[in-house]
Symmetry: C2
Subunit: 303 residues, 2 copies
């Protein structure tokens, strides 16, 4: 199955209590694509980069078999840049700098050969652009969408139009409360699912994730890690593992959705162990399965 | 099996965004005892109350088969009082008033017929008093202990002496970080377990609880409730369900400890649905089992 991913490609300057990493390859679609690449063969990325996105960066994506023909390279501009600093507890961060650069004028064009993609993952970008991408896909089997506070506050109407066409929506707890206007997550979920997406995932960072479907609620823990090195991209990495697992399922039912949440959590748990994409660019399938099994153990009740 | 519980008996004035309840029966040992009463027949309470603790309050405890011979009634003083107000999100609260009253001079005396108790639950009181209680118990099979920031900051040495004699320690995430000096809960758990308790439970409120044993980590979700009415006593109610389940197990192993965490979570989820002890004073065994099964469903992966 093919997965089309649209989102940002970026260079990040990251500071954590344990060190810093400058000019690190990042961006939502980078994390999603790398993470999903362990689950399926055909990953198609639509995005935009500047002249500073060099062969080595394309090579890294190609090394994971990611198709980059949908990435426009603008020779007269720079790639999107973000700088942030994490606090002592790693749960909060300050954005120190955001330079949209070529991303400011991003007008996503889905190449002809991508338009039959079966799975579509709309990374956290302007919902107007998310809609433009959906308009170019013929008959997607499943549409997954992420967003953030910025768009909920600034582009609510466009976001609501996007959500009408989304099957699975992935947001964090703060975003769910903001979008629904209700502090209770169970009520929030009901309100948001009425906007369109039948399936909703609310990520709670170090507290795991909740999956809401017509059949009930699934609560996944986060992996209790001793060393969280850099949380950047963990949410996107979750989305990549989640859609990656679903893309290889013959039938998508609640059991596979629950497994997909654990695979997403598994990938996210690797992501935070090194700076940027370092860890998720070079995993072995066996270690992914090992940690997936550890996740199952973590909440297993019976012998 | 008999469970001896020592802790506070109190009257609370509680304000939440949904209403208020004055002069509500509360206190750590009240919640622990009521919660544990659904799991075992012999519940022994050691505590102190004033002249305002009336027959109706004793009757409520007796209606759940709780033995109150260890509760000293001081005729010239008033029962411990606490007043608090919960914020909009129900996760934070302000203490508006604390009146220790007869609790200020509490010197726990374990009645002779209680001294063979097999299970001991040390509620959140001065660790010096917790030690005094332990000194009066002959050969407890299992000692469970709770504490709070106030004692970690003010009576650390006494608390450490208590912990050397504790089998299972139950605290919340903030208390774990304070006691260990480490923001990471996995590292905190290792540091705290080295202080004595082989088994540690870190409660995370609406995010569930983590169980740490020699054999690994268990992550229990909290029950996703639509209506949280009053969180007062939820932690003590958790402890009551937890020790209650263990007291009826022939062997205490990791499986039973995990089940006990879910029973504790089950009882806590009922507690918050009404003001004070109202809900946990009048449960049916069937609804406890129903919710326990719902908890299992909540994190079940396989068919």
């Amino acid at each position: 199955m093919s997965i089309l991913i649209v989102g940002s490609l970026a260079f990040d300057d990251i500071e954590t209590p344990f060190g810093h990493s400058d000019n690190t390859l990042g961006g939502s679609s980078t994390y999603i694509a790398l993470s999903a690449s362990y689950f399926t063969e055909t990953i198609l990325v639509v995005g935009v980069v500047g002249y500073d996105f060099e062969d080595e960066h394309f090579s890294l994506l190609h090394s994971r078999n990611i198709d980059t023909k949908g990435i426009q390279k603008i020779e007269y501009g720079k790639t999107f840049r973000w700088a942030g600093r994490y606090h002592y507890d790693m749960n909060t961060r300050d954005t120190l700098d955001t330079q949209l650069n070529v991303f400011a004028d991003f007008d996503p064009v889905v190449p002809h050969q991508y338009q039959n993609a079966e799975f579509v993952c709309l990374g956290n970008i302007d919902p107007v652009l998310q809609l433009k991408v959906l308009d170019q896909i013929k008959t997607p089997k499943l549409v997954i969408c992420d967003t953030m506070n910025f768009w909920i506050e600034g582009k609510l109407e466009a976001l609501k139009k996007t959500l009408e066409r989304v099957d699975i929506f992935i947001i964090n707890d703060g975003e769910a409360r903001l979008l629904s206007g209700d502090p209770n997550l169970v009520k929030s979920a009901r309100i948001i699912r009425q906007m369109g997406p039948k399936t909703l995932i609310i990520k709670k960072g170090e507290h795991g994730a909740l999956l809401f479907t017509d059949n009930g609620i699934f609560a996944a823990p986060a992996f209790p890690l001793e060393n969280i090195f850099d949380p950047t991209g963990a949410g996107d990495t979750f989305a990549g593992g989640f859609i990656g697992h679903l893309s290889r399922c013959e039938t998508i039912n609640d059991i596979e959705l629950r497994r997909a949440v654990l695979y997403g959590s598994t990938m996210a748990s690797f992501c935070v162990e090194k700076f940027g994409t370092e860890k998720i660019a070079s995993l072995e399938l066996l270690e992914i399965e090992d940690r997936f099994q550890s996740f199952r153990e973590l909440s297993r009740i019976d012998e």
